[in-house]
Subunit: 263 residues, 2 copies
DNA sequence: AACGATTTGTTCGTATGTATC
DNA sequence: TGATACATACGAACAAATCGT
């Protein structure tokens, strides 16, 4: 009797889900039925106790509650696998690699028109090794694959990139750069991204991310956050990109050394 | 008035924590005080509403409640950064790389004695491209860094590796292989891991993982899961490793191309 | 050691709103 | 439209942990 009632109920339901006794998409018993099931000798457990148990399952991401319908066991979706490439060849830039990878998997990518802003953000400025108070250009884009919201990306450029050439102001325009940002920097501004460093983080989504990715308020899904700093030849950072992917529909792949091809 | 009361309270407290107005270790106001603070015109918010707000903060890992004492702001832990190496050189094997990296950061690594089992697991067998019903050797290890539980790792080997040489049975012994598993395979069995493929997943922890990583039931933390298949020269998989890291204390770093050194 | 005050934990109840069928 | 089920908000009682007197 160590565990409180609501946790015992949660654990029991949890076990049924893990064992497959309750399969994805199936509704749990209604609150009233659960109150009866876990009450002893014909008595009923309190409604709130049952609800506390269900809250626990929801917070574990095992079930989803739908108002007016019931509580349902969640299913796992088929994840999109992004292959992290390791050698940035000049003709094989990030965006292109990503797109061809998606096409290889027969999926359709749809990028939103970027939202462009000029910002004063000291944490970003530090990443780009600029002076305190410096301004940065931010380009924010949403990506959908087969209509499903897939990733949110914000790229920051130092403001002084605009001095590098007459075409640089295009960075300020809210139009997609079709050829890919890295290719654009190289062909129009003569800026070559010769390498990058990623920091990979996993965390829970923010409220805004929940909204875009159509995650219910209550469902707990992990998020990948990639923070990529791109460097040019002289070792100076030229862009800082933060990309967020919901982990329920995204996985990443990494190869090293000699590995047989995938299929 | 879009957001419900309990979330407005949670967001307000959350903001105070993020801004540093409430610093780590400090107690929040007591439930009674919060009921007064967020009630209008001398009225009090319901105790349960305040408690719902605090529950939200607890689930985000921002605060911790201690019975009889109060609710306290948690501090963020300094994450351990693992650099994902991309070129497996013969003398520079995985384990060694990892350990020197830890030492570079001035941390102390403590690996448990491995738990070794012989298993019949079809999903693993498929990864190792063995026939259905084949047996695999599993070696399970726990890793702590500076006393804090840091990762759980299980490595699977095909059972027929035991035929490769007289020393192979050491894989069945519950002793750490000090030189690192990959080095052991090479020097004692002549098996060279020439490459690997990782699949990187983010998800929520299981009950067992919560227990080992000392995560409270109420805190929501994401987990990294790395699934690494190692291949030998002829392209056959020789090991399959699953490693789980809690994302609140682990990050990963990845470099490509020419990048300035870290500091 | 004993007690009371304070604080959080758990369980019960009620009421009202909203979404779905 | 009514019935059902979940979401939010409130109130109350008792338990358990902690701390100071």
């Amino acid at each position: 009797m160590a565990d409180p009632m609501y946790r015992r109920i949660a654990d029991d339901l949890s076990r049924q889900i893990e064992s497959g006794e309750l399969s994805p998409g199936m509704p749990l018993k209604s609150e009233v039925e659960l109150r009866e099931e876990y009450g002893k000798d014909g008595t009923m457990v309190s409604r709130n106790t049952v609800r506390d148990a269900i809250k626990l399952l929801v917070s574990r991401g095992q079930v989803e509650t739908r108002p007016g319908q019931g509580t349902f066991v969640l299913r796992k979706v088929q994840p999109f696998i992004t292959r992290l490439t390791l050698d940035p060849k000049p003709g094989d830039v990030e965006d292109t690699v990503f797109k061809s990878e998606a096409e290889r998997q027969g999926r359709e990518i749809d990028d939103s028109r970027p939202r462009v802003e000029v910002q004063l953000a000291d944490d970003i400025v530090a990443r780009l090794e600029l002076g305190k108070g410096a301004q940065v250009i931010s380009r924010h884009q949403q990506r959908r694959i087969d209509g499903t919201p897939w990733s949110l990306q914000t790229t920051f450029y130092p403001m002084d990139l605009l001095q590098r050439g007459p075409d640089a102001t295009r960075l300020l325009e809210a139009t997609s750069i079709e050829e890919g940002a890295i290719g654009y920097l190289r062909t129009h501004l003569g800026i070559d991204q010769v390498g990058w460093r990623d920091t990979i983080i996993a965390r829970l989504p923010t409220a805004q991310e929940r909204a875009f990715f159509e995650l219910s308020d209550k469902v707990q899904v992990a998020m990948f956050e990639f923070r990529r700093t791109g460097y040019e030849e002289n070792g100076k950072p030229i862009r800082f990109t933060v990309t967020v992917y919901p982990a329920d529909r995204n996985q990443f792949e990494l190869q090293a050394g000699r590995v047989p091809s995938n299929e």
